[in-house]
């Protein structure tokens, strides 16, 4: 078997999710190649070559790939991917944007968001917001898959020494253009990469009150998330949303503040190692999954927590 892993990167470095996806590739077994498609992405390719388990890195360094436009990158993946039995990408906004497009170009029914590898053609994936786990088997000659990073322990980022090979395969479809990007600037870690996450829900009452969570987060080196209810209410931006339709996180410690625990939210955080819930409603479903529950008014408990740290 031969597996092409699509690297998630920012041209300068490889994002952690790539290492989880390589781990899924190792679970399938076979020769693992990593595609780094970008512009001036040599450093990212060098980093990918050091990852454990990779035998070759293919670099497609072209202005057409600089901003990961799906139209161009999917065309590249479909072209290179013909020679592989599996094409794996990360279940990130980028991977979800590109991989299905590549799959359709290859006339393949993609498999989204796998959480385990049962065999080379059989995988488990959550459906219905994580309320059901389906075991699915693909009959397509090429398997195109996105991998939920939190379900696979990452391979070592160092120690490998894969060959780096460049390709001049330039797919500039010319129907889309990058205009601008507005990435939240924060000294806090990224939600999906943080070892501690503290999230607020509707109980926070407004966006200003999230300041309390930011203070605690900064003491713990934590990322700050939110429930869909808090996002829908306009307290915080959508990229903070933890849940089935937002980010899936599995940190060492997850602190849910003023979050009732809707199914939607639980689907995004229930694989966290330790869960703490702070909520004044002792009947809130979040307590059914919490290792440590504190029934209290968050406007008293959070400042106390801040003071105690």
């Amino acid at each position: 078997m031969s597996i092409l892993v699509i690297a998630e990167h920012d041209n300068a470095s490889v994002k952690g999710a790539t290492l989880n996806t390589i781990a899924a590739a190792k679970a399938i077994g076979g020769d693992i190649h990593v595609l780094v498609a970008g512009a001036a992405c040599g450093a990212a390719a060098e980093a990918a070559a050091k990852a454990d388990g990779v035998s070759k890195v293919i670099v497609a360094d072209n202005a057409a790939y600089e901003h990961q436009l799906a139209e161009n990158v999917a065309a590249l993946i479909a072209d290179l991917g013909k020679d592989y039995t599996h094409i794996l990408g990360c279940s990130t906004s980028n991977g979800k944007n590109i991989l299905p497009r590549a799959a359709a170009l290859l006339d393949v029914q993609a498999i989204s968001d796998i959480i385990s590898v049962e065999s080379a053609d059989t995988f488990k994936r959550p459906v219905y917001a994580g309320n059901v786990i389906a075991t699915v088997q693909s009959s397509d000659a090429i398997k195109v898959i996105t991998v939920r990073g939190t379900a696979f322990d990452p391979v070592a980022a160092e120690g490998g020494s894969a060959a780096v090979e460049s390709t001049d395969n330039a797919q500039n479809v010319g129907i889309s253009a990058f205009v601008s990007e507005e990435l939240a600037k924060s000294d806090r870690p990224e939600l999906t990469a943080a070892s501690i996450v503290i999230s607020g829900g509707r109980g926070m009452q407004n966006g200003d009150n999230f300041e309390m969570l930011y203070k605690v987060a900064d003491k713990l080196g934590a990322a700050v998330g939110a429930s869909r209810a808090a996002v829908d209410a306009g307290f915080v931006p959508n990229d903070m949303q933890v849940g089935q339709t937002g980010k899936i996180v599995a940190p060492d410690l997850y602190v849910a503040v003023g979050i009732s625990g809707a199914i939607q939210h639980l689907a995004g955080m229930k694989d966290s190692k330790v869960i703490v819930a702070i909520n004044k409603d002792e009947e809130a479903p979040i307590f059914q999954v919490a290792d440590y529950g504190l029934v209290a008014d968050l406007f008293e408990a959070v400042p106390e927590l801040d003071a105690a740290l």
């Binding site: 436009l69 799906a70 906004s93 980028n94 944007n97 299905p100 497009r101 799959a103 359709a104 393949v108 029914q109 993609a110 498999i111 989204s112 059989t122 959550p126 219905y128 994580g130 309320n131 059901v132 786990i133 389906a134 075991t135 699915v136 693909s138 009959s139 397509d140 129907i175 889309s176 253009a177 990058f178 205009v179 990007e181 990435l183 999906t192 713990l220 996002v231 959508n238 990229d239 949303q241 089935q244 339709t245 980010k247 060492d252 410690l253 939607q264 229930k270 190692k273 330790v274 869960i275 703490v276 059914q288 919490a290 440590y292 529950g293 504190l294 029934v295 209290a296 106390e304 105690a308």
Partner: protein, 249 residues
């Protein structure tokens, strides 16, 4: 411009879906069915574009069993002008849906296709991207804002860590994220009016699409249960437990 909107009939988001005890499928007999929430946002966006004078006609398409007519009627009550049902009892995968939609695009030649980013049953998040590949159209997925400028559509996309703006040639495909808009409720007069709007029915065979599944579901099961832990009395006890028992801070 003509807009095509795809709508999917799914189990209502308030229903907690469980696997059948024999693990062959999910138990959704008699469950309340609704229009997929992301598709509802797609319909709303199309209607707003019509209200702004940008869109001239909205065609709502659904695929599946006869009952999908209900979701098309819902879309028409919200403001779609007419409907198309691709009727089949087969379970459709995203690739098959994209192929059927692509065949409809060939007939209808819309300038914009708006659809939900994912359906809340299969959670695949694939159909819009696949339709982009098959039709050769660019895609603006996970949209939180859509605007038009000089024959192009600008889409602000929700991406990990923030927002990205792309400019797409028309015709284009847009898939909706939650914050694109807040869908309206259909008024009773509009629900009555929707009953008289035209609704065409066709089959995948008539569209020349093979919908045979490529992926087989072998088994469904509930997720691993997480058991409730303990209640702590106060913040001091919580911090103590986290430091000394769980050792996570």
């Amino acid at each position: 411009m003509k807009i095509l909107v795809a709508v999917k009939r799914v189990v209502d988001y308030n229903v907690k879906v469980r696997p059948k005890s024999d693990g062959t499928d999910v138990d959704i007999a008699n469950a309340k069915m609704s229009i997929n929430p992301f598709c509802e946002i797609a319909v709303e966006e199309a209607v707003r574009l019509k209200e702004k004078g940008i869109a001239t006609e909205i065609v709502a398409v659904s695929l599946g069993a006869k009952q999908c007519q209900e979701q098309i009627r819902t879309a028409m009550a919200l403001g779609a002008d007419r409907g198309i049902l691709v009727e089949t009892d087969a379970e459709l995968e995203p690739l098959a849906i994209a192929k059927c939609l692509n065949a409809i695009i060939a007939k209808e030649s819309p300038e914009l296709v708006i659809m939900g980013k994912q359906s809340i049953d299969g959670d695949n998040n694939q159909t819009g991207q696949m339709l982009g590949a098959l039709s050769g159209m660019p895609q603006g997925t996970f949209a939180s804002e859509v605007s038009f400028d000089d024959g192009k559509v600008n889409v602000i996309r929700e991406v990990d860590g923030g927002l990205q703006t792309v400019s797409l040639n028309l015709p284009a495909i847009v898939t909706t994220d939650l914050r694109l808009n807040e869908p309206r409720y259909a008024s009773l007069p509009n629900i009555m009016k929707a009953k008289r709007k035209p609704l065409d029915t066709m089959t995948p065979e008539e569209l020349g699409v093979d919908v045979a599944p490529r992926v087989q579901t072998l088994k469904v099961e509930p997720p691993a249960e997480r058991s409730a832990g303990i209640k702590v009395a106060d913040v001091a006890e919580l911090v103590d437990k986290l430091r000394n028992e769980a050792k996570v801070i």
